[in-house]
């Protein structure tokens, strides 16, 4: 109940904001009958109506994870965001090993297999991508070992 209502409310707000920003779309002097605003506003309107339906007629709550699992999910999310930033400046090998090890640990909390998974995936995938598929990956940060 509450989850669906909350989600409906978020969608409703987003849809209204979307419609509002669609009204601000610049139009050019060459105008077709529909123009660039109408379709986004239509989509926003349909979303808003559906969100209202969801608020009025919510489904039963899904089973949300407990606080500990939720923390694990949050850590995974942060690690992935960090990985996205780290891939370019730090090269492939190091960030991949760290990220893969942490993700592996979150799925099955045993330290040694997780570290081995991280190392194995990082080196294995690097060899696969660099030499078998010939993708241009940079193994280490620029300036070290080169």
């Amino acid at each position: 109940m509450a989850s669906d209502r909350l989600f409906g409310l978020v969608v409703l707000m987003t849809a209204l904001a979307y419609i509002a920003s669609a009204t601000q779309i610049q139009t050019s002097f060459l105008q077709d009958p529909v123009g660039p605003k109408a379709f986004p506003m239509l989509v926003g309107a349909v979303a808003a109506i559906s969100a209202l339906v969801m608020i009025i007629k919510p489904d039963p709550n899904p089973q949300w994870p407990n606080l500990k699992t939720f923390g694990a999910l949050l850590i995974a999310l942060l690690v992935l965001v960090g990985y996205a930033y780290a891939l370019k400046p730090f090269g492939f090998l190091l960030p991949t090993a760290v990220t893969a090890a942490i993700l592996s640990y979150q799925i099955s909390p045993r330290a040694v297999p997780a570290i081995l998974t991280g190392l194995g995936l990082s080196i294995g995938l690097f060899v696969l991508f660099k030499y078998a598929l010939k993708l241009g990956l940079v193994p280490f940060p620029k300036g070290i070992f080169t």
Binding site: A22, P65, T69, L103, S104, I107, S122, L125, K134
Partner: protein, 501 residues
């Protein structure tokens, strides 16, 4: 005989050693992808697209490789259904109903081979259907103007929302999320940016591949973290594998009926393979009646959903190739592949790029034979693959996703977007909001708006033009029915639950 000469053209492309090798590699990878729990046809194909693109394969080769993966994953999905009672993907859910009980009776090998043969029959007949029907439909599609296309896109969203999900409002929201995302970026008509919030990274729009990989592959990682990889234990041991000729002969009519049914379900825009296997299983269940023993591990119960599922996979290619409207989640991913390769599906594809279409159809036929030959003797090997634990598999999938997207654009922004889509995918699936309409919206949003705007230019702003032809009116009626009717039929069409131990 057009078809014969076209097929000859197709086979001349598909039988070249290089293409043949790609088909075999694709089948092999596909079966592995399908067999691994947590990787199905949609996310398996999705994470491979960016890599295929970076490899610089030409259009036909890339298409052959990825459709072989697609067919292979459809085959492979049954392995984890039968042995682990875990459907590798949604259409394989029906296979667990009789496949797992059969495996528990010590007939795991029989069930695997039988379902492999049923998959072959379904996919083979569907490919024949595809090559007969697609050129005809392509000819009809020439009659479609922008008003008809607009109605057709609407139909795809409505049936997808109505048939394939449990709550219409949620499906509509999912479609709107996709369509709304598709609007971001430079407007083709005016050349001015829309809804970018001034962010330079968004001026080119959001790449659909980023969204697909995020929603399908990254979201899966979050689910496995939530479940702590509990879904990866081996259930049933595989004893001797031999060919159960008696069962195959016994289920011949079941396979044929279900192939036809699955093919039709696959053609319907938005319905796809899940509906195909569902209808096939339910109709066979009612044909054989109470004495049929469906749900206790009978041969027909294994053959029916697999034939239906694989026939639907072939059928779903018909609207995707001829109209550019995918019939399922995976064909939506294949549409994304075509668009990445700069091929516009639609009736003109058949006249402008016959080598692509017929090469594809010929390699589907070849892939099918390869899969059957590969699946019976190598089934033990694929079963061993199942034992790869989730704590190695899922981090690996994540890393491959990152490398794929990173090598496409080289920008950290796309990687961040991908992670954001992963989180969105997790929340949406938790709330039972389907994610396939989101993908479809991102893929088709631009075309849908374009169709509407061109229709209005043609009619000079007269809105009634949208309902000016019988074809368009037919699509509108079908769309409304497809969206509304399941609300009333929901009581009748309840999906059977998974068997639990």
């Amino acid at each position: 005989m057009d078809i014969i000469s076209n097929l000859a053209l197709g086979f001349s492309i598909a039988l070249s050693p290089y293409t043949l090798m790609l088909a075999i590699v694709g089948c092999f990878l596909g079966t592995i992808i399908g067999a691994l729990p947590g990787l199905g046809p949609s996310n398996g194909v999705a994470i491979l697209i960016p890599i295929t693109f970076t490899l610089g394969l030409d259009a036909t080769s890339a298409l052959v490789l990825m459709t072989s993966v697609y067919y292979g994953a459809m085959y492979g999905g049954r392995i984890s259904s039968i042995l682990l009672n875990i459907p590798g993907d949604e259409p394989a859910l029906m296979t667990t109903l009789d496949g797992y009980p059969m495996a528990k009776q010590g007939r795991a090998g029989d069930a695997l081979v039988l379902s492999g043969v049923a998959s072959f029959v379904g996919a083979f007949l569907a490919t024949i259907g595809l090559l007969l029907l697609a050129p005809l439909l392509a000819r009809v599609a020439y009659l479609f103007g922008p008003a008809e296309y607009f109605a057709l896109y609407l139909l795809a969203f409505c049936t997808l929302g109505g048939v394939a999900s449990n709550n219409q409002a949620k499906a509509a929201i999912a479609s709107c999320i996709g369509l709304g995302i598709a609007m971001i970026g430079v407007d083709d008509n005016s050349g001015l940016p829309r809804l970018t919030g001034g962010n330079m990274h968004l001026a080119d729009g959001i790449d659909f591949l980023v969204a697909i990989v995020g929603l399908f592959a990254i979201a899966e990682v979050f689910f496995f973290i939530e479940g702590h990889g509990k879904n990866s234990s081996i259930g049933v041991k595989l004893e001797k594998v031999k060919v159960p000729w008696k069962d195959i002969w016994h289920t011949r009519w079941t396979m044929l009926r279900c192939s036809l049914l699955g093919f039709i379900a696959g053609i319907l825009p938005g319905a796809g393979a899940s509906l195909g296997s569902f209808l096939a299983y339910m109709s066979e269940k009612s044909i054989s009646g109470k004495d049929g023993g469906f749900g206790t591990g009978v041969a027909k119960g294994v053959a029916a959903p697999e034939a239906g599922n694989n026939a639907a996979a072939g059928g779903a290619l018909v609207p995707m190739l001829t109209l550019g409207v995918p019939g399922s989640g995976t064909t939506a991913v294949l549409l994304a592949l075509l668009m990445t390769l700069n091929i516009t599906p639609g009736p003109t594809l058949f006249t402008d790029r016959p080598e692509v279409v017929w090469g594809l159809i010929a390699s589907l036929l070849i892939a099918n034979v390869v899969l059957l030959l590969m699946n019976v003797p190598l089934v033990r090997f694929f079963v061993r693959i199942l034992m790869v634990p989730a704590w190695i598999l899922l981090p690996g999938v994540t890393m491959i996703s990152f490398v794929g997207i990173y090598s496409l654009s080289g920008s950290y922004f796309d990687l961040l977007l991908m992670v954001a889509f992963g989180a969105l995918g997790y929340v949406l699936r938790k709330l039972d909001v389907p994610t396939v309409p989101v993908i479809l919206g991102i893929l088709l949003g631009g075309h849908m708006e374009d169709a509407l705007r061109r229709a209005m230019v043609l009619s000079d702003g007269e809105i009634m033009y949208l309902w000016s032809s019988p074809i368009a009116i037919g699509f509108w009626i079908a769309a409304i029915l497809g969206f509304v009717a399941p609300m009333f039929l929901r009581g009748v069409l309840t999906k059977p639950q998974r068997v639990s131990d």
